[in-house]
Amino acid sequence: MLGKIIWFFAVILSVPVLYIAYNFIKSMMPGQSKTYILQPVYRLLKLFEKKDENAGFLAYFFSIGSCLFSLIALYMTVAGFNFLFVISVLSMMDLLVITGAFSSGDFSGKVSAKRGISRFIIWLFTSIVSAASIYQVAGTLKLNEISRLSESNGLIVNLPFTFVSLFIILLMKGNLMHFNFGISGNEQSLLGDALNSPYSGWSLAVIQLAQWTETGVWLKILSNFIPVVKPVSYVVVSFVFLAFLLLDGYISSVEWKKAARLSWGWAGGLAIINFIYLFYY
């Protein structure tokens, strides 16, 4: 039990540390705006004291609800629950964010909800196909069993495309590279993208926390496939994610419909290829 609690808090703290590292490295690069080392944390704390007169009860309800679901998903992940249970809790979280965006009545909220639904369908489809592939190889969907089998048998040998497609879900959730749907509170870039989000102030801060927690969940899920001990595999996956965060600065963003097409092709496509390979060959 103690191990699970330590993992829970370690994952929660690791994602802000990743963003702080990203922010620090990026601000050292030529031509970038200069920021404080703890800028992502400052931004989060600042948001808590901002007051939005237009935000109603629903904005707070949906943001707190999504944050709670993300924390539940994180606990289930570190405790080694069934992969599909974690996916179902994460989908509840995503649906709350989307519903909150749509119910805001704000134009940017509706745009955000539309893009959110598109992203939701893609990552849910990819996750379900990936789950089928994982079950075919491991014979179980329990994350602690998958982790144990990875260490002993190297599951990733049979699930290379599944791993990549799950990593692309992480990129989609982080609004990175060609999988950037232009949604919500990631505001690290110098020239802001068209960030469409109805949340602001306090509710945006809670959504930001939920997103960080969700990123931690996906990092932990992905780390189960690396055939080394748990802490090392988590650090490896985190460093790869940090590399992609930095690489994002050099990749031009695309229009969100193209991002959706690319996400279908890469995340969904690779998951299906791995699935077909496992079942027919």
Partner: protein
């Protein structure tokens, strides 16, 4: 709550409105961010809901006036408005009797004015930080 005010000044999200004109003020601001290393923590955002500060550049005309007010209303409190350049401050040489152009203070409650065509890069960043400091006092 001194520490909270300090945090607010260390993370300022700016929404830039190009109301009209030559766009040089907005360009100066972008260059200031990449060149100036003394003022830290200022970032640009594309969503008024995430912004702390509204930077108005160029002449405000009848068409852009409504949009600017709409954007201003979406920014959560505490917020600051800064008029950048001669066009936003007074209409500059484009302002005539019936030109239907507005100075920024005729449309919004402006916290800070940066005059000049074009204003210096360091002045723009300085004004943003000062304006946010003033906002905390008035709130």
């Amino acid at each position: 709550m001194k520490w909270l005010n300090k945090i607010r000044i260390r993370s300022i999200s700016v929404y830039v409105v190009q109301a009209g004109g030559c766009r040089d003020c907005a360009l100066q601001f972008s260059m200031a961010l990449s060149v100036n290393s003394k003022k830290k923590g200022i970032t640009v955002t594309g969503n008024p809901k995430h912004a702390d500060c509204l930077l108005v550049c160029g002449c405000i005309n009848e068409k852009s006036k409504e949009k600017i007010i709409e954007i201003y209303d979406k920014i959560p409190y505490p917020k600051a408005v800064i008029a950048v350049g001669a066009c936003a401050c007074s209409g500059s040489l484009f302002r005539r009797e019936n030109s239907q152009l507005y100075a920024a203070e005729e449309v919004l409650p402006v916290n800070s004015w940066i005059r000049g065509c074009t204003p210096g890069q360091a002045e723009i960043l300085e004004a943003i930080v000062r304006a946010m400091e003033m906002v905390k006092e008035t709130d």
